[in-house]
């Protein structure tokens, strides 16, 4: 059992938890993810790693309550335990393994959308610890969904916050914000990392392609085991079938077949909703939301 040592609401629908998992904490690097099973009857769901602390033996996860499982997970309290917690899964971000001098030469822009800000954080923090300054754009539909702003400001050089509805920060999408930075504010970047809902990654990557910025995206697809065994996470990248769990989760943002990935994401929407209806009276999984949002997937 994996104990919840800390729980904090980052907004009305976004939960942060520190989970006691010493082996996972020790092995985690930026870019990787974990699989959590809430209780004996739960699904295996892939979740973003937001932070890890080797000394405390904890891994910090962040998730949005978009489906039945995540809603019930949000009901767990400090001191409760999850049934299973495994990882880290996937490859770490490329820059972790590149020579530091090369990494330091790059001008990074990180773009996080919604809960996608959470997996951006450990990458930015790692780079800060290795004396690499980066810029971050974090966007969400509204102010309630903006998370980890203070933490990010401590780790990044410049942080740009934007909301779709203008309720906080720059009024507009992350793509509007990036266009503004590059076209009006004289910023230039030569490496972009985009993590968020699939639709957001699709359009942000389209923009970085136009701007000529090499781009990495992180895919959180449907998964079961997370170790390469099931193949549920298969995605088309540059014409080849890749498994997000063992080949990814990070891929060339300009080569991913986003439309195919989004279609596969919809696979369990109705089925999960059907199961959810049996247990709650609330609204079922909304197909237009949570699509690709880190921490929102069902496996």
């Amino acid at each position: 059992m994996y104990k919840i040592l800390k729980k904090k609401m980052l907004g009305s629908q976004i939960v942060l938890m520190d989970i006691e998992a010493p082996r996972v904490a020790k092995a985690s690097l930026p870019g990787q993810f974990v699989i959590v099973i809430m209780d004996e009857k739960g699904e295996r769901i892939p979740l973003t790693v937001c932070d890890y602390d080797i000394k405390k033996g904890t891994v910090t996860i962040v998730f949005q309550t978009v489906g039945d499982t995540t809603r019930r997970m949000a009901g767990f309290r400090e001191g409760d335990s999850f049934f299973a917690f495994t990882g880290p899964l996937g490859h770490p971000s490329d820059f972790v393994k590149e020579p530091l001098e090369e990494v330091k030469k790059k001008k990074f822009i990180f773009i996080g959308g919604g809960v996608g800000v959470a997996p951006v954080y450990p990458q930015v923090k790692w780079l800060k610890e290795h004396e690499v300054d980066v810029d971050v754009i974090m966007g969400a539909r509204n102010k309630d969904l903006i998370i980890l702003e203070d933490e990010m400001k401590k780790a990044a050089k410049d942080v740009y916050v934007c909301t779709d509805d203008g309720s906080y920060g720059f009024h507009g999408l992350v793509t509007d914000c990036l266009t503004d930075l590059v076209k009006n504010k004289g910023k230039s970047y030569d490496h972009a990392v985009i993590i968020g809902p699939m639709i957001m990654m699709k359009f942000a990557a389209k923009l970085t392609k136009e701007l000529g910025i090499p781009t990495v995206v992180s895919l959180n697809t449907i998964m079961v085991d997370g170790t390469g065994m099931c193949g549920a996470c298969r995605v088309n990248v540059g014409g080849a079938v890749k498994f997000a769990c063992v080949d990814g989760p990070e891929f060339d943002g300009h080569a991913v077949d986003y439309d195919g990935a989004m279609r596969r994401m919809a696979m369990y929407k109705t089925e999960e909703g059907r199961k959810a209806l049996r247990t709650t009276e609330g609204t079922t999984h909304k197909p237009e939301k949570g699509c690709g949002v880190q921490g929102a997937q069902i496996g």
Binding site: T69, T86, P88, M229, V241, V246, R263, R278, I298
Partner: protein, 462 residues
């Protein structure tokens, strides 16, 4: 005069069993068992033993059964096999021990598998303890994977006094016996009993540890004090056919389909994991895994088809599984190969397009190569397609273990007699080495490795 017909065994009726996931074969009663055991001719030449990959002393254990000495029968099998209740259920006996049975020349072979199962089940039901007390020898060995190979290696070494930890990537122990083989063929309780036995022997199990990600073999040996490691991590990544439409919604690998249903118990509404075979499902492949998927889909309420490119004779599945599948109304499209999976406007599977095949000249496997019949394409309307054509090795361990040599199929290279890899102190066996094979072969390989690991550690001590 020996009865040339095998003693019938109780089974759930087909029309009943397709509505549940309970075991199909009910096993022999004591009377039936004795009747069947009495058919054994106790041949001096013992051809059945030669047919067994681990050379179980078959005539001896059958003789003990006839004598009503079940404890002795248990011990006799235990000399060679750690998992009789499992192998009695899943071994392809008709191509092993039973194929060689002298009676098979004129009639039915002795039902050796069913008798083995009887012994395994008797051991479990009577909680018969086969294990002598063990004195710990103070040496630590890590076993990766809790499937047939891992369990066997762990058991053999624990009995020699080694301190064993089994690392399992999933949240439940048992490997393919639990995630792959359905309850109707091998109940989880049978596997759990074997694992509990190992726990009583002092074997520790750490679930949710993915060796190669959570911890590396180097770390296990350098930081955690394991003197040797046995890799029994199984066959890994599912293969797809590379035909158009495989990325449509409703296309599964057999691993995914079976894992959802068996490990995650998706068939049970009390569990959260979804599965959705729809009204009809086509399963591509002809092995045990394909039969398991087809019969699972049927039990989940779908009309179920097997699509296999060779003929019935070449079906690699156990004869009993093919027979049961046919009884259950699984429709076999033999000498048929899928060419494309067709989707609807929303990207969901609506049909599988197939082409008829005919058998041509023998290929490198010695089987006649199936050749497409021009213009014979046709469609089967289905909502689900399950690809059950095999797996390729998982790269997680090999990528993170320097010095571990792989062959051209990316399987771990070993010395056949000892399971020794190219990395000192690291041994491997089972599907991680051979690719998809059988439980009994994995078990046999694991026994060799356990013996070699013992010798290796003893020689180091000197």
């Amino acid at each position: 005069m020996v009865n040339m017909k095998r003693t019938p065994i109780g089974e759930q009726a087909p029309e009943k069993r397709i509505t549940n996931f309970d075991e199909v074969c009910l096993g022999y009663t004591k009377e039936q068992m004795i009747e069947e055991a009495n058919r054994c001719l106790q041949c001096k030449t013992r051809p059945c033993v030669d047919g067994c990959p681990v050379a179980i002393k078959i005539p001896e254990f059958i003789q003990y059964l006839r004598d009503n000495d079940f404890e002795a029968a248990c011990k006799k099998i235990a000399e060679d096999s750690a998992l009789p209740a499992v192998c009695g259920r899943v071994c392809p006996q008709e191509t092993q021990c039973e194929e060689r049975c002298v009676l098979a020349k004129k009639g039915d072979a002795v039902a050796i598998g069913k008798l083995e199962r009887y012994v395994g089940d008797w051991t479990r039901e009577h909680k018969f303890n086969l294990n002598d007390p063990v004195t710990p020898n103070g040496h630590k060995v890590a076993v990766i994977g809790s499937g047939p190979a891992g369990l066997t290696c762990a058991g053999d070494l624990a009995k020699l006094g080694y301190e064993i930890t089994v690392f399992e990537a999933l949240h439940k122990t048992g490997g393919v016996l639990v995630y792959g083989i359905p309850e109707f063929r091998l109940p989880n309780s049978v596997v759990e009993y074997e694992i509990d036995n190992l726990k009583k022997l002092g074997v520790k199990f750490e679930t949710n540890v993915i060796v190669g990600r959570t911890v590396t073999i180097d770390q296990l040996m350098d930081e955690e004090g394991y003197e040797a490691v046995f890799v029994g991590s199984g066959a890994g990544l599912p293969m797809f056919m590379n035909i158009p439409g495989e990325d449509l919604n409703g296309v599964y690998s057999a691993n995914e389909f079976l894992t959802r249903n068996n490990l995650m118990q998706a068939y049970d509404d009390n569990f959260d994991t979804p599965i959705r075979p729809g009204k009809s499902a086509a399963i591509v492949g002809g092995g045990n895994v394909a039969m398991d998927a087809a019969r699972s889909a049927k039990r989940l309420g779908a009309k179920s088809y097997i699509v296999y490119r060779r003929s019935e004779k070449e079906l690699p599945a156990r004869a009993e599984e093919v027979h049961h599948a046919m009884e259950e109304g699984i429709e076999f499209h033999l000498l048929t190969n899928p060419v494309e999976i067709l989707g609807d406007e929303k990207g969901w599977v609506r049909a599988i397009r197939c082409i008829r095949m005919e058998l041509g000249e023998p290929d490198e496997s010695g089987r006649r190569r199936p050749v497409p019949v021009k213009g014979s394409e046709y469609e089967i309307p289905v909502e689900t397609v399950v690809i059950a054509i095999g797996t390729s090795p998982n790269p997680l361990i090999s990528q993170t273990t320097p010095g571990l040599e792989l062959n051209k199929w990316k399987a771990i290279v070993i010395d056949e007699e000892t399971g020794k890899t190219t990395r000192e102190g690291v041994y491997a066996g089972g599907d991680a080495v051979s690719g998809s094979a059988t439980v009994i072969l994995a078990m046999g390989a694991a026994r060799k490795s356990a013996k070699a690991i013992d010798e290796y550690i003893k020689s180091k001590k000197k």
